[in-house]
Symmetry: C2
Amino acid sequence: MSKTVDFYFDFSSPYGYLSSEKIEDLADRCDCTVVWRPYLMGVVMKITERKPLVHIPMLSDYSKKDLNRFARFEGIEFNQPSTFPIATVVACRAYYWLERIDKEKAKELARALFRAYFIQDEMISQRDVVISIAAGLGIDSNDLRAALEDVSIKQAVRDATDGAVKQEIFGSPFFVVDDEQFWGHDRMGLLEAWIKTGGW
Amino acid sequence: MSKTVDFYFDFSSPYGYLSSEKIEDLADRCDCTVVWRPYLMGVVMKITERKPLVHIPMLSDYSKKDLNRFARFEGIEFNQPSTFPIATVVACRAYYWLERIDKEKAKELARALFRAYFIQDEMISQRDVVISIAAGLGIDSNDLRAALEDVSIKQAVRDATDGAVKQEIFGSPFFVVDDEQFWGHDRMGLLEAWIKTGGW
């Protein structure tokens, strides 16, 4: 049976975006299935007493350079959004609603949301922006609009976030395979080696 | 003319230790020279308002696992020291004194200090421990003992640390080549690609 990789991320995370562009290729090479798990990382940032790199002296400038350098190295289009970070609860709700209906379509929406934010500088924190992006993929706007107010969908996002915290997921991107945790886009090489070798 | 890689680290940094075991091989592959630059990272940790990973919930457990996993992956012996982090000013002074006399010997001492701490759990924060390790490499104990109290050597460590901060070096390991900064053991692959291709 093929392994499952849980891929945790926040839609506001630039390194999460980079991984979103690469994780399915990695899974294909490893004959794995990926479960995409967007969550609200703000909760765990508080628990771990951290703040976004952009708010830390020195690390702010460096992380911008590092992101652009990584993106160019991997051939991924990337532009630092003008507003950062942003609230991603609407994007998460849209994702978990669609996942109930069509898992692959939900991943497609996730990729489209990431690209809208990290290439086109679109404010995916806003409901109408998310609905418009989804409409571009053929997703019914009225259905999605209703889903964004649905109590069970709101709860699904809370559950995803609480579940991540309980499993000590504290970053984005964050991968789990065989109960083994890998934090960061820069651990994808190690993740792939782990899966291919069965660990060490 | 071959390029120079500046390799900044704190003797108390486990990822710095991992890099110290690999950086000269990387340099050989790239026809580069490495300048080892130990410094006291505590200063810049304060400026960037950070604390060691081991003092952060969740990240503490993860970073221990990640370190061991990385070390095993790369075939580097590693044991988490019983006391961590430690003061590294004595180790830095020994390094900068010896560097004035014999650069290669100074690197040899740096590697021996790292290994003593991260394999043998020796307290390299202590003067007598550093002197004993140096003696094992044929370094005169009386000369080193005198050097550790030398005003100009003390100043050399302060200068190295101030210089690092001025250049916005904020981590360990931290590499600089062609004014391009690379932070973290996990950026060594990118560093090597950068040197070999001339950057992108």
